[in-house]
Point group: C2
Chain length 476, copies 2
């Protein structure tokens, strides 16, 4: 593509994006296509000859958009947000254009050093333990997701617990990992991948009111395994669970782990961004006792997916487990020991220049702007929770300290399922979980463009539908 | 950011990129910064207040670019290319803007269905086995890299070899994996991560002339392990090794594996794109006997990193090993069984909309354009090899059937190391490997904008420097 054509198509796409973003409010969030619809609109065979860019962009409108669930809609309240923002989008464009592959410091020093620097900035911005800073034995790295962060944390824990034997001989020792049943599914997935086995993941009971891990039960479980000759390798504590934003008592868990030499990984994937605000830093109480920690700027800090920020207090077990240096990657900088090679901090070898989007986002909004973003969503969620609580039809079964509100009709699962379907049919999007075995709706507020009027409108729709009132189609 | 500002900054960035691309030819490929230089140019603390976009873009020029090794330069001949292209760059911009997270079909059906469709297109474009198509028990998925493809292949192999026991109980059985010493380092990394252990990775000897795996030695190694009561779980064969593009004899290896029920994964990360051209499809002889296969469109098919195309002939072991369905992800489409949820085909849960870039690239160039791209690089490499062979100072120790030429001064390691340093100081970039224990230079041709004049100029520089002639600084 000539430079001139690139400019023309680039401008056209920028315009398309600006229009798409402006149209988001009018679009029903959830795609209504049925399985196979998108494929049926695509040719069976790849084109032999080039096609004009206009044809591609045209098909984005006609083929792709109908099959898109609009995660960036201000009415997207499902799952957790994956909030994108303009500076992050432009940084992704820049990263794609530079096209550097940052597996080694030497293959693009700026890719590594900007990343280390952003991870150090974040330690300060979130008031995380100084042990996570890169100027000591610890340090931070961008992973694609919290799933991968959990996996590398378990690999490091496995390395430490077996003094490297698991890497050499395979997992022969009876390793055990602990998490609550409210922990993310990626914990079980990582336990499987790492060869530890699902049966060796202990499900530590939670307090039924808060869904937070019971530390006494954890201590008892670890001690029982120790007594039986097993090797407690890691505990995964969650700061803001996926289901309900429950908070495991990290300080107590940390003491239990330290006393027994067990690796503590803290998964703050969603909630971690709240620590931008001093008044919300209680979420990280005890994190100084963790061996590793992660949160996702791609969830609630305006930085496009994928961007998980992962730290270790001591990088030796992580790097020891994941480092292999073949001849074709040998270089002077690596051998000097003066640089970080992030390929040794992650599962894949290759890596994109993702620090650019953190840099653009932090500078574009400033810390104050990011704080304002978090505060506004927390305030909106509290306001929403107030409306729900004041309504006799509904109840709120668990605490909602941040921007997720779990709520349900008092009348039972069938009614809640029907309400969820109707709400999602109306054009906005909620998701669900189970609390105490009962179907519960999740209202996760955190979209880049979600304002009070969107939350108000959502409540009108939910409230109306719960009463069998009209609004069949809110949007579109 | 307002829509108006987004347009302005977006246009400015598009212009910046067009100028960057135009300037690539003038820039020395390798960054010359020393460790710490980039960080020293960055403020110690994140800004409290927002900064203007112009300041960010300005700092890209002054802080980032000096620390960038220009992977997209036509003079980048190191490692393997990670070739980007304008349609892929624009597709990345689109993907970032839609900001969808395709963990489930339901969370954006187009993200899943376009991906499945592109993977089926590629099966046809590369003349891969029809078993890899999605309309049978097999299918394809985009991974971030071949490292991750190898890991999920081993997880699937482990699942099949232990009938699921490794996932449940952990790796308790004596599993064994086989690869040649020329296989990519990610094989050992995956063997470690999967809990199988480096000591259980057998290094199968190669033919010293071709560096291809010796199938008789493989059969003997497997049979010895079987006789000893161990469980041969997987063989990783390489189609185009990283060091020298050696080709393991996949057809023979496949027969050996099938007879013994061992999973065969074929890693064609770099070379796989060559199969776009019918005359180069010999590289995939025997691949119909593989259980899984991958190649990287991000290496040599003009699709920005990251994009690894991974297929399985039967998806049951893969999905069985990696599937976990927590309540908050339950949905009607998944439960109907009528859709693919790609989270079950990969390590992380979340995923970006990467199929867009394959779609844009294939349509922008057409199959004929992609073939022309591969053919031109192969021809340039053969021409380059001819010049090297005609020069008494040099020798070519291994075959060079595609676009990588491994060559060296006859005079020994010290001279080769010095030549490599001087060549890279001059502004272009080569990397190195060892062949028969001796330092060998790697000239990997595959840049999006690499033409004959760049290869000619590179040879002039290499030839001149080998003779102690002048060109200290070729570029910049």
């Amino acid at each position: 593509m000539s430079a001139e054509d690139f400019r023309l198509h680039g401008y056209a796409l920028v315009d398309w994006i600006a229009e798409y973003v402006a149209s988001l409010e009018e679009r029903p969030v959830r795609s209504e296509v049925r399985p196979g619809d998108v494929r049926r609109a695509l040719p069976d065979h790849a084109p032999e000859q080039p096609e004009p860019f206009e044809a591609l962009l045209g098909d984005v409108d006609t083929v792709v958009l109908p099959g898109v669930t609009h995660w960036q809609s201000p009415y997207f309240f499902g799952y957790f947000p994956a909030n994108a923002s303009e500076p992050a989008i432009l940084a992704e464009l820049l990263s794609a254009s530079l096209g550097v592959q940052g597996m080694l410091w030497a293959t693009s020093p700026a890719c590594t050093e900007l990343e280390t620097h952003m991870m150090d900035w974040l330690v300060e911005m979130l008031d995380l333990p100084t042990a996570f800073r890169s100027d000591g034995p610890g340090g931070g790295v961008i992973q694609d997701s919290a799933s991968s962060a959990t996996l590398v944390a378990l690999i490091a824990a496995r390395e430490r617990a077996t003094r490297g034997a698991a890497n050499r001989r395979g997992v022969r020792d009876p390793l055990v990992v602990y998490a609550s049943p409210e922990a993310h599914s990626s914990v079980e997935k990582a336990v499987r991948i790492a060869g530890i086995g699902s049966e060796n993941l202990r499900s530590v009971p939670v307090d039924p009111g808060t869904l937070a891990m019971d530390p006494a039960a954890l201590a008892a479980a670890i001690d029982a395994d120790l007594a039986a000759g097993r090797i407690p390798a890691a505990v995964v504590a969650t700061v803001g669970t996926t289901g309900t934003t429950a908070f495991d008592p990290v300080a107590e868990i940390g003491d239990i782990c330290r006393r027994r030499g067990v690796w503590l990984h803290v998964d703050a994937a969603y909630a971690g961004a709240a620590a931008l605000c001093p008044e919300l830093r209680w979420i990280n109480a005890g994190v100084e006792k963790a061996d590793s920690y992660c949160f996702n700027p791609h969830k609630w800090m305006l930085t496009n997916f994928d961007c998980d920020a992962f730290w270790v207090a001591d990088r030796s077990a992580l790097v020891g487990a994941l480092s292999i240096l073949p001849e074709y990657l040998r270089n002077e900088a690596t051998e000097s020991g003066a640089v970080i090679d992030y390929r040794d901090w992650q599962i894949p070898l290759g890596r994109r220049f993702r620090a650019l989007k953190l840099w653009f986002v932090i500078r574009h909004y400033g810390v104050s702007g990011l704080q304002a973003h978090v505060r506004s969503h927390v305030a909106l969620a509290q306001e929403f929770a107030g409306w729900v609580e004041a309504d006799d039809l509904f109840e709120i079964p668990v605490p909602h300290p941040l921007s997720l509100v779990c709520f349900r009709l008092r009348s039972g699962d069938d009614d809640n399922r029907e309400l969820l379907d109707r709400v999602n049919d109306s054009g906005l999007l909620l998701s669900h979980t189970r609390v105490g075995g009962r179907l519960t709706l999740r209202m996760a507020i955190g979209g880049t463009r979600t304002e009070s009027r969107h939350v108000e409108r959502a409540w009108e729709v939910i409230r109306g539908l719960a009463r069998g009132e009209a609004p069949a189609q809110m949007l579109g």
